[in-house]
């Protein structure tokens, strides 16, 4: 599977609350969330297929577009810093 269509697989989170000497660094395996959602998605497929027939949208193209939007979040970085607190989130 091309990397460009994969959603973010991991997230780096650094949090240093006010008054803490050391911060918390987390590495979140987002791919586990996608794996957990996969069976739910498979269960929902028949309903999505019926919905596509009823509402007249193309199922495969829709799924591709949703995957592309999720993949678009890769590389997002948010950093907030003030004298007491530092928060850093990056989606990889």
């Amino acid at each position: 599977m091309k990397a460009e269509i994969l959603p973010p697989l991991t997230a780096s989170v650094h949090v240093k609350p006010a008054g803490w000497r050391f911060g918390i660094r987390l590495w979140l395996p987002l791919f586990l969330i996608w794996l957990l959602l996969l069976p739910l998605f498979v269960l929902a497929l028949p309903f999505l297929f019926v919905a596509s027939l009823v509402f007249g949208f193309r199922l495969l193209r829709s799924l591709g577009a949703v995957m592309a939007v999720l993949a678009g979040f890769k590389g997002t970085k948010v950093e907030v810093e003030n004298p007491g607190t530092r928060i850093f989130v990056k989606l990889n």
């Binding site: 460009e4 509402f55 007249g56 949208f57 193309r58 193209r61 829709s62 591709g64 577009a65 949703v66 592309a68 939007v69 993949a71 678009g72 979040f73 890769k74 590389g75 997002t76 970085k77 948010v78 950093e79 907030v80 810093e81 003030n82 004298p83 007491g84 607190t85």
Partner: protein, 136 residues
């Protein structure tokens, strides 16, 4: 000399700007040029930098980087809107006075619009906050 710089100097010469204002504008122009991605390279990120002084939290810095790929992918979502719904959206936009046709929002047109963002540089600078928005 670029057109924008010449424009600023013309305004200074005609008295529409003070020397301090002209200097600030030229400095902002140079910063924007320095930060802009080189021509030919695809724009990758939209950056928002905020540097403010909050009365409760003190000096606060915010740095946000959003991939342009998200914008490009969002255009693909318009392709899955049923034709009937698209017509309704266009009609609603027209009723609001916005003559925009979402059928014309294609990846090629979007790429052209994104390319125009290459020179986008929003620079806000006052006593309490500095905000910079640019694409790289």
């Amino acid at each position: 000399m670029t057109d924008k710089r010449r424009q600023i100097l013309d305004m200074l010469a005609s008295g529409k700007l003070t020397a301090a204002e002209a200097e600030r504008l030229i400095a902002a122009l140079e910063r924007g040029t320095a930060m802009a991605a080189p021509a030919g390279e695809k724009l990758k990120y939209l950056r928002v930098l905020v540097d403010t002084v909050d009365e409760y939290d003190g000096p606060t810095k915010v740095n946000v980087r959003v991939p342009m790929q998200l914008l490009r992918a969002g255009v693909r979502l318009t392709g899955v809107i049923p034709t009937k719904a698209r017509d309704q959206v266009n009609e609603a936009l027209r009723n609001q006075g916005i003559p925009f046709d979402i059928n014309k929002l294609t990846p090629d047109n979007l790429e052209e619009m994104v390319e125009q963002l290459r020179e986008l540089s929003v620079d806000v600078d006052n006593d309490r906050a500095k905000v910079r928005v640019f694409c790289e």
